[in-house]
């Protein structure tokens, strides 16, 4: 299966179809934008539950605006959805700063774990777990230091007594292996 990019003309006609109250067009909009909006919101808010709620808000706001013909340049649908998501994310973060939520002190409470993953997310996580398991333990450490700790190759090299070039090569190869495995196993499933 080849992934096709969203063609601008498709998105333009999608906006137009929604304005004309075509119900299948609304489903198409949700299918196309739900994932990017969620990924953007979860990256910005670092809170998957909040991101899920905000995604619904963003898509509803976009649908309302399109139904009312508020998008003047229909070819800019993607930018419009992105802008709406960014504004709602910023509002959410501002509100959070003004009235910080009380966090549970007990780390064992279920709130500590991300809940409500979609089937697709669950499947991806499970494949990624298997891929991580198959990596060399040194590669796992390099990935942890890079992707979680945010360390640069030079710092990791000192820590692990490797050269920065070796760290970069190992990291690059390990990430490629994981991505390939996800691609391969995702393709096999219906």
């Amino acid at each position: 299966m080849t992934i096709q990019p969203h063609q601008p003309e498709d998105l333009t006609s999608l906006a137009e179809r929604i304005r004309q109250n075509d119900p299948t067009a609304e489903s198409d909009l949700i299918r196309i934008f739900q994932r990017p909006v969620f990924v953007m919101l979860v990256t910005r808010t670092r809170d998957s539950e909040a991101a899920r709620d905000l995604t619904q808000e963003v898509l509803l706001a976009v649908l309302k605006a399109l139904r009312n013909g508020q998008l003047r340049a229909a070819e800019k649908l993607s930018a419009f959805v992105h802008g709406t998501a960014r504004n709602l994310a910023n509002n959410y973060l501002r509100t959070l700063l003004q009235s910080p939520r009380e966090l549970p002190l007990d780390p064992d409470l279920p709130l500590a774990a991300p809940e409500g993953k979609t089937l697709q997310e669950e499947e991806r996580s499970s494949i990624v777990q298997r891929a991580i398991q198959q990596l060399d333990s040194l590669d796992r450490r390099i990935l942890l230091m890079t992707l979680v700790d945010g360390w640069k190759p030079g710092k990791i090299a000192v820590e692990l007594a490797l050269t920065p070039e070796a760290v970069r090569a190992r990291k690059s190869r390990a990430v490629r292996k994981v991505i390939e495995m996800v691609e391969k196993l995702s393709r096999k499933r219906p």
Binding site: M1, T2, I3, Q4, P5, H6, L11, F33, R35, P36, V39, M40, V42, T43, S78, A79, V81, H82, R86, P114, E121, R124, S125, V128, Q129, A131, I132, S137, L138, R140, R141, L143, L144, T146, L147, V148, G150, A161, L162, T163, E165, A166, R168, A169, R170, S172, R173, V175, R176, V178, I179, E180, V182, E183, K184
Partner: protein, 262 residues
């Protein structure tokens, strides 16, 4: 912003770590809103980051359980490999007096198929997993994936024209440069293989760097440039990747070979 720039500047990784400037973040988001490939890669990397964070304690514990062990794991392996090589060299048929005994001095026409150097220069086609990477948004990538359909069928000569077209569209496409080198090598065009593989190496930190150096060493071996092959193999060892032990073995075999050759 395009897929290539995102890949080369590791923008997805920096995005997930919150290390992008506001303008870069905006541009990346606008891109993946329209690019299912980059969105998919972002989701995979996010899942990878989540899983690593979830297993953080376990991964760090692995390192403390076996301090210093890794460094010495290769010693028994190398000893075993050396013994095997010595045995293999001893068992290999000796060249007759009509065939030059120094493999380095031999010309391709006079090198018998079972000579040690020919065996060391033997290459297996590098693995290729067809992905949907970047092909959806970039003409060069699309051409690359089309060309690689022949690769899966083992028709390496047929891959080359398609890869050439892909490289005309984007000369810096690392996968096209690498497989171009591999295909030249598999069709016995060492001179062109060396050019393409050197080009891949010159692109710097790509997922193909280690393999490119390894196959470059093989290409030099086939061209009877043992010193250049050894240099490349030492660089492969220095990368400490998947090819490390294979490169060590080859270096060892070359050293043995040069000792046994008059």
């Amino acid at each position: 912003m395009d897929c290539l720039q995102i890949n080369q500047e590791e923008m997805i990784e920096r995005y997930l770590l919150g290390q992008l400037q506001e303008s870069e973040q905006e541009a990346l988001e606008r891109h993946y809103f329209e690019c299912p490939h980059c969105l998919k890669e972002l989701e995979t990397r996010r899942a990878l980051r989540e899983e690593l964070a979830r297993r953080e304690v376990e991964i760090r514990a692995e390192a403390t359980r076996a301090p210093g062990v890794r460094k010495w794991l290769w010693v028994p392996a190398l000893a075993g490999a050396t013994a095997a090589i010595a045995l293999a060299v001893w068992l290999w048929p000796r060249p007759t007096s009509t065939v030059p005994t120094s493999p380095i001095a031999q010309t391709p026409a006079t090198v018998p198929d079972n000579s040690p150097l020919v065996r060391l220069a033997h290459v297996e086609p590098p693995a290729y997993t067809p992905l949907t990477l970047r092909g959806s948004t970039n003409a060069a990538n699309r051409r690359f994936h089309e060309a690689m359909a022949h690769y899966k069928e083992g028709d390496y000569a047929a891959v080359i024209p398609g890869l050439r077209q892909a490289l005309r569209l984007d000369p810096t496409l690392p996968e096209a440069n690498f497989y171009m080198g591999a295909c030249y090598l598999l069709t016995s065009n060492e001179e062109e293989a060396i050019k393409s593989l050197n080009k891949t190496v010159s692109l710097g930190e790509t997922p193909y760097l280690e393999d490119a150096r390894f196959y470059l060493a093989k290409a030099y071996l086939r061209s009877h440039d043992i010193a250049a092959a050894q240099r490349e193999l030492e660089k492969v060892v220095g990368l400490e990747g998947d090819r490390e032990s294979e490169a060590r073995q080859l270096l060892q075999q070359l050293a043995t070979l040069s000792k046994t050759s008059p």
